[in-house]
Amino acid sequence: MAKLPLEGVRVVALPVVFAGPFATMLLADLGAEVILVESIHHFPTITRGYMPKPPQFLVPTTGATFGGSGGIQTYVDHWAGDRPWDRFVMFHALGRNKLSCCIDLTRPEGVEVFKRLIKVSDIFFESNAADTMEKLNLTYDVLKEVNPAIIYLSMPGLGCSGPHKYCTVFGAQLQALAGHTWLTRYPDLDYTTTQSLIFHSDAASGATAAFAILCALRYRKRTGKGQFIDLAQLESVIPHLGEAIMDYTMNGRVQEPLGNRHPFMAPHGVYRCLGEDKWVAISVSSEEEWQRLCRALGTPPWSKEERFSTPLNRLENQDEMDKYIEEWTCRHDNYEVMYILQKEGIAAGPVLDQRDAFHNAQLASRGFFEVVSHREAGTHLYPGMLWKMGSTPLSIRKPPPCLGEHNDYVFKEVLGMSSDEIAELEKKKLIGGDEYIMESIF
């Protein structure tokens, strides 16, 4: 049986929020030993919760109670419990296959322990604000003295140089800066009334960062050399908007948002279906598909009208055409529409809410969800691997780690410390895991 691709590669990581945890999850899925170095003194906001011990009134009970982003502020069973940081769903979503140890990096003894860990690792990965590593005095220049072959990746929002290096940005701001907010809007509403809480840059920069690490690993394998990777999250998402950039640089055109429509496909959109808040997405890419769509709809009289007779006419008369199509979709379940249209070879699929996605037949048949048992959260199915590999099948091998769960493994087995040494570190509160030692922000 082949080893996992990255078996034997050790990653020390200080990832926060979405992008960094996503990147390190992809590396962990590939078999790397990803050790999160966490702190019991500093609470990483939005990573293990919004606060260490949230009052129950801030724990959302339904998606609609909390900024529309209930899904990223949830605790298992709506109950924060004694160790809320181990029950925060977002951490669970991106924490699989990783290990956690705690080291206080603000004290010299903690830094010494950390450097010992760097010495026996291949990669250091961090996704904090650009000044964090500088403040801790753990920059690349410092760590490469400890381990010259280390691969060190930093991924602040705007990069490790330039006048806005220290700018505080999250996904929402990166989305705005990149021009993606600009392109994502209902054509009949403005930016303040179009609400979009999905920020593509986190997904884009997270996956790009994992790719960057793999490039550097290959280079190191061939040359023995480590290196520094400066990944500006903004710069990694801009290529994903290539068409809009090129239209501007080639033609001086500032593309305007199209909502659910397409520059040349019509019909193209989301249509209401039978049921509460049920929708189906449909796109028609050719004349032949249009004919088949009309057939699937029973060749209604309107479909033969002159104004819908050519792709250009359909593009120009979309509003009217969409009303007719919606009259039809409204009478059908959204999955039903999918099956009817797919049979005709037309791209159509339901807008799946989270429940429908969880129960989806395609994801189920491919074994996308995997069973995971977690000490503090119980047993659930979790979203699993992003791809399938024939010879080195990937899976959720370990549940998301509890805070400091692997202190013993890291300090004893990886660093070879004695029980006395570890007890001493614990006594000094340099390591831990049962409690955050900090002033509450309340």
């Binding site: 909390f66 800066l177 979009s196 290959r218 908007l241 950039i245 429940r355 994801l363």
Partner: protein, 406 residues
């Protein structure tokens, strides 16, 4: 000396549209030798997709194609012909990686599935990128950007309450699938170089969405672990909010800004607004008050109306508030930070001359990202690949051309 991280990696690229080509672009831009195989005649369908240089719909002037295919060598080959298949296998024998993005039935129907290609090259990493994956009941379903976002992605909660779910702008789902595919490809390459293990990697665009960070994976797990359904939300003015500080997109003098607040940042807002008196204002002593939020909004909106978006960005930068202008593509091209980092690059191409392209998605200290050559003209490297690499003679090449093979 290895110049680039992926120097020496040989990639055979049978992909088209966006997802697959973005995967191989990442590999090519970091040094891999990528041979892009297109069908004779029309080539990659993105050649027929805009935006076009100077709005001239010409197969060598598609901005989308030019962007996605930098650093690749281009050949044409008819995979339906017996000779075409034979040639492809010759190329496979000399490749580390093959990436394809046909619908799942295509490669097997051509007799070019993994089982067949593995015999030619046991160490081959074959990566298949498809809408729903190589297996399952939807295997042969058709999809598109909007359908993939609807089914795999978090479209359900994208957009405004009371309105239909909203697609993200552009084709970002395809690009994301391509980026994830590049990670998977590199993982498989690492195994192949390390252990001599070839394999087939099966990438479903639906799964790259369902498992990606923002925010599908969290929202699905929130449903599983707490029954939470996350739906579309009203805009800032109408939403019940948690903090008195603003969250979301707000109008300013010449456009819009996007602001995000954390509970501990109240003092930063006071500083940014230059209103230290708010600190002791009895209305604003509880930052978790929605009512106080309404009061604060009045101050906030009128303050924003006095400033333009770049000016606001500077103020927010100083106060360390996470806020940024809603940039247009034009603003982005002019953004000082990107200029200072020399992000955008100029690429010279025979049909368009010099055009500015998006640059490196990350900078490596030891090895470079660079444009060695622009996207290939259709069949530009036929002679180089077929004659110099595979040893065909000019005459044979002519015959292949006449036979419609290339």
């Amino acid at each position: 000396m290895l110049e680039q991280a992926l120097s020496g990696v040989k990639v055979l690229d049978l992909t088209w549209h966006i997802a697959g080509p973005y995967c191989t672009k990442l590999l090519a831009d970091y040094g891999a030798d990528v041979i892009k195989v297109e069908r004779p005649g029309e080539g990659d369908p993105t050649r027929a997709m805009g935006p076009f240089f100077k709005d001239d719909p010409h197969p060598e002037k598609s901005g989308l194609f030019l962007h996605l295919n930098t650093n690749k060598k281009g050949i044409t080959l008819n995979l339906k012909s017996a000779t075409g298949k034979k040639i492809l296998k010759q190329l496979v024998a000399d490749s580390d990686i093959l990436v394809e993005s046909f619908r799942p039935h295509v490669m097997p129907s051509l007799g070019l599935d993994y089982q067949a290609l593995e015999k030619v090259n046991p160490r081959l990493v074959m990566v298949s990128v498809s809408s729903f994956g190589q297996t399952g009941p939807y295997r042969d379903f058709k999809a598109s950007e909007i359908v993939e976002y609807a089914m795999g992605g978090e479209m359900y909660s994208t957009g405004t309450a009371g309105r239909e779910p909203l697609k993200l702008g552009g084709n970002v789902i395809q690009y994301q699938a391509g980026t994830v595919a590049a990670v998977a490809t590199m993982g498989a390459l690492y195994a192949a170089e390390d252990q001599g293990t070839g394999q087939h990697v099966d990438i479903s665009i639906m799964e790259t969405q369902a498992g990606s960070a923002d925010r599908r994976i969290m929202y699905i797990l929130s449903y599983i672990m707490a029954g939470v359904i996350t739906t579309r939300w009203p805009p800032p003015r109408e939403a019940v909010r948690m903090l008195i500080m603003p969250q979301g997109v707000y109008p300013c003098k010449d456009g819009f800004v996007n602001t995000l607040s954390l509970p501990q940042w109240w003092s930063r807002y006071i500083e940014a607004l230059g209103m230290p008196e708010l600190k002791d204002d009895p209305r604003f002593q509880n930052i978790y008050s929605a009512e106080a939020g309404m009061e604060f909004d009045a101050i906030w909106y009128s303050w924003l109306a006095d400033h333009d978006k770049q000016e606001l960005f500077d103020i927010f930068l100083k106060s360390k508030i996470a806020s940024a202008p809603v940039n247009s593509p034009e603003d982005l091209l002019k953004y000082t930070q990107l200029k200072a980092r020399e992000y955008f690059v100029e690429v010279d191409h025979p049909e368009t001359g010099k055009v500015t392209y998006p640059g490196a998605p990350f900078k490596m200290s030891e090895t470079s990202w660079k444009i060695r050559q622009p996207a290939p003209l259709l069949g530009q490297h036929n002679e180089e690949i077929y004659c110099r690499l595979l040893g065909y003679t000019r005459e044979e090449l002519m015959k292949l051309r006449e036979g419609g093979i290339i």
